[in-house]
């Protein structure tokens, strides 16, 4: 996956939400986009998932241009959005089965796959319930399971553990690691330093739509530790060093 000189300016906005952003993600890698609120992370994911039209630059998913061939790109990616968008009129199982059907997965494939994912995400007991009264953790598990129903090559996780309790967060992290082991490329946006440091192979720190740093979490913290007298730096120190401490 590759982003080259990506620019996005929304209508009536005074500044670019994404300002000449460039990075590449290797196949099978977990790539973390780290940044404060409003840094341009979700806009970048929006462009890569064909829901935001870029103003300039190029974005390729599995080598396919998101603007030139959005339908093809949509077939290759899975998306777990920041906000719950589960189908509340359908049961958990139906959510998975209909999602696969939208992607043209035949019934003989989608039925056993749904059962396997329900099991993997500890949702079998609630499979016939509607997601109306689910907890945040259950909703998140369900959205990840749904996104995997069409066997995507790239999975986008937008703030995947925001608002989850520690057990639910660890559960999601374990599933993400399993997906990497299975060869799925993962792009996750987060402002949780632990999450980025623990899960991501490489981290891109963005602010005001620009890429400020891009490296492995260890290399980023090492660079700050050797560059300034801060003792043993954490990823949070790197983040604050690059983006500042002002509230926004």
């Amino acid at each position: 996956m590759e982003v080259r000189e990506l620019v996005k300016r929304y209508r009536k906005a005074r500044a670019d939400a994404v300002d000449r952003l460039s990075f590449a993600v290797a196949e099978g890698e977990i790539f973390g986009l780290l940044g404060p609120n409003g840094a341009g992370k979700s806009t970048t994911v929006g462009v890569l998932t064909t829901r935001v039209r870029p103003t300039g630059g190029r974005a390729l998913v599995a080598g396919v241009d998101v603007v030139a061939a959005p339908r093809t790109v949509r077939g290759l990616l899975g998306v777990v959005p920041q906000r719950n968008n589960l189908d509340r009129s359908l049961s958990v199982r139906q959510n998975l089965l209909f999602h696969a059907a939208y992607h043209g997965v035949p019934p003989r494939v989608r039925r056993p796959r749904a059962e396997a994912l329900l099991e993997q995400f500890a949702l079998t007991d609630r499979a016939d319930d509607k997601p109306d009264l689910f907890s945040g953790g259950q909703n998140q598990r369900m959205m990840i399971a749904r996104a995997l129903m069409h066997d995507p090559r790239v999975l986008f996780l937008d703030e995947p553990t925001t608002g989850l309790d520690p057990a639910a967060r660890l559960f999601v992290w374990d599933r993400v690691r399993e997906l990497r082991a299975a060869g799925v490329t993962i792009v996750l946006t987060t402002h949780d330093m632990d999450e980025a440091a623990t899960l991501a192979d490489r981290v891109g720190i963005v602010d005001a739509g620009r890429l400020l740093a891009l490296d492995t979490p260890a290399a980023l913290t090492r660079r700050l530790t050797t560059g300034a007298a801060v003792g043993e730096a954490s990823l949070e120190d790197v983040f604050l060093h690059l983006t500042g401490t002002a509230l926004r």
């Binding site: 829901r51 339908r71 093809t72 949509r74």
Partner: protein, 271 residues
């Protein structure tokens, strides 16, 4: 293997996949609405049935309206039921799904072109409208004793109702994508009431010559051509706009509202 995969990517998803995907999205809406058919029918039929009872039976029975008024009213009410059902079905779904539940996002990320996701909403709303219109016939017989009907006019009936339902669904597509969710109650109040009373449902359009301004105003409402087309097919003895004029005008309205609605849908679906 890699070459095949690359070729498949360049070619994009096949037409068969697109049809299968479109069918699944339509099946989802039918599954959800089909779970509670009584609620659906009560929602769409309560108002026209009461209209039919009060104006077609009660007031004619009391002698305030002539007995023939029911024959004039019934085709208009079938037209109104179809178009209003279609408008509400697509507008409400879109406002809710784009504005509150965000449920449509999963379908927007399917390997379907955007226009196909919008077209599914239109087709489903039109199906609901046709079901509601069809149910009006047995209800009309129950309330009025009989309803005007001509086997010879079946072709025109199908054309007018089919086009009318699609036009209604595209008006709903336009309302549902241009009116902000927070303003939808106001939007419906400001749009529906004028649509209801300028639709030639309760009066024949050609006889409005004594009130020219109102006749011109009524001619701007696409539902007028559904009402008049229904009279042309079910009760041709009542003065009406010729069937071919209705079909032509409805086709023009369909192109117009489908275009505007698609622009609105695209605006909501892509930033």
């Amino acid at each position: 293997m890699r070459t095949e995969r690359a070729a498949e990517m360049v070619r994009g998803p096949s037409g068969v996949l697109m049809l299968r995907s479109f069918g699944s999205v339509l099946r989802r809406d039918i599954t959800v609405t089909g779970k509670d058919p009584v609620a659906f029918l009560a929602q769409v039929l309560l108002q026209p049935v009461l209209f039919l009872f009060v104006f077609g039976r009660l007031l004619t029975g009391l002698g305030y309206l002539s007995g023939g008024y029911a024959s004039l009213l019934f085709p208009g009410l079938v037209a109104l039921t179809a178009t209003v059902t279609a408008i509400q079905a697509s507008a409400f779904h879109l406002v809710a799904e784009f504005g509150w539940t965000r449920e449509i996002e999963d379908r927007l990320l399917a390997p379907l072109p955007l226009w196909a996701v919008a077209a599914e909403k239109v087709v489903f709303a039109a199906i609901q409208a046709l079901v509601a219109a069809a149910v009006m016939f047995p209800i009309g017989i129950g309330v009025l004793g009989s309803v005007p009907y001509r086997a010879a006019g079946l072709g025109l009936l199908a054309g007018v109702l089919g086009l009318g339902s699609l036009v209604g669904a595209c008006i709903g597509l336009t309302i549902g994508t241009f009116v902000p969710p927070t303003k939808i109650s106001l939007g419906f109040a400001l749009i529906f009431t004028p649509l209801l009373f300028t639709s030639a449902t309760q009066y024949p359009w050609p006889l409005l010559t004594h009130l020219r301004w109102f006749q011109v105003l009524t001619a701007a409402n696409p539902i007028t051509y559904v009402s008049e087309g229904m009279r042309a097919t079910l009760a041709p003895a009542i003065p009406h706009i010729p069937g071919w004029v209705c079909l032509l005008t409805l086709t023009g309205s369909l192109v117009l509202f489908a275009t505007i609605g698609m622009i609105g849908f695209r605006r909501c679906a892509i930033d």
